[in-house]
Amino acid sequence: MFIRTHLTRRKKRHELYVKYVLLLMTLLIILPLILIVFYLIYQAAPILSLDFLLKNPIRGMRDGGIWAPLLGTIYLVLISLLIATPIGVFAAVYLNEYARESWFTRVINLAVVNLAGVPSIVHALFGLGAFVLFAGIGRSILAASMTLAIMTLPVLIASTKEALAAVPLAFRQACWNVGATRWQTIREVVLPNSISGILTGIILQVSRAAGETAPIMFTGAVFYKAIQEGDLLAYGLLDQCMALSMHLFTISTQVPDVPAALPYGTAVVLLGVVLLVNALAIVLRIKIRSRKKW
């Protein structure tokens, strides 16, 4: 029979300590998150309603809803994704699947890593110079989306590359051995098996694009602009727009006498949009992973 000695008892005790310390740390990181969400909802409760979502701000933004900034944010995020996703994914495919090790690819990889660390206000200035002024697009949804796209691209490329690199080399070799071209291999085997990782990278960029204020402030977002309520196509590509992140900034710092619930309500909606997209991504990932094949 196995007899407990002093040593085994001590080992068991240590095991318990470690487990609970780790658990405590985990709880510590969720705690602020829960607090933030509940505090926001508590403060915003009086104002949250469907009308809040679907009405424009009125009376110098001291009343009414957030329809114009909400739609503006949706436009900005969608269009920036439409621009960044194809460029980012294809660039990552090139870098991971085609590019040979050379000083050129090393420089590109280094640039991608460093660009990911550039502060968003710098991207904003670049967008202002390149798109608004030089390209002559003017302050508009298009210019702001392009700026957001530039900001999200490096991280998108990095995360896509990572997802591609996770597909075992042996799969590619098996395809090459039977005479498949590189592109056939990528299309039939590499991309289908890395799509869930690629999606995760894209989705993370949604939250980032939705939350940033600086890059859109100079390039297309405005202080106030009323649009047709209930019309999903109320903005044109070359219009300026309101955006949730910037709206939150203005009503909490620039406009006097705003009822307290209003900024909190805006924050809840911004958070809601981001969480909704993340939830969508999780569902999509689970769906794809259930088809995962190795």
Partner: protein
Amino acid sequence: MVSAAVKIDVRDLHVYYGHKEALKGISFDVRANEVFGIIGPAQSGKTTLLRVINRTLEFVAEARYKGQVRVDQEDIRQVRNVFELRRKIGMVAPLPVGLPLTIYDNVAFAPRMAGIRNREELDSRVEQCLRQAALWDEVKDRLNTLGTRLSGGQQQRLTIARALSHQPEILCLDEFSIAIDPVTTMRIEEVLKELCRSMTIILVTNLVQQARRLANRTMFLFEGEIVELDDTEVIFSDHPAQQKTYDYVNGIFG
């Protein structure tokens, strides 16, 4: 086809991985429709040799090779369509790699990539290849399940079926029996004896007895050099030309 026709002709082949020389100037030829055995301990360059022949060594960034390799009298560096060259050569790797596709799609992959879309043609090709790889009876009722869910031995036979699926003229088996039980190995060996009527087989193996059973001629590679190449009976006789060969096949060193 004349049985003595040369299928693969290798002249003074050197392969380098960075500064390391993996093959040190070897020359030999493989005749059409023979089973050509290659034996030798690890790191002797057997797998590298196969990768040169189907030009997948090019995917290894730091690898270079010089010398001449001709398949059907054509220099492989100058073939117009490298994918056609690879389709001419069936390759079975030591560890089974089932593509993350269904069993059917695994075998139909190569024909599809070569442009065959006709369902009936694909069906018959899949069945024929799975039969040849001695796998058909075990999987015929579940062709639409994932190939990666098969056991290791079954997956290896699946890769053999896949290597046959593009109707190669040359079949390279790189230690194919590592993951397969002896009974199935024997069945596949029977199949190979059949197959060599219609194709040339290069058999790389660590099991020297397997080379003895199957190969017409056997080459003993050691540290990137050919120690001896002769008819299999000579290699496995009591008096091969090199003492080293005798020692290796009898398990005295290696």
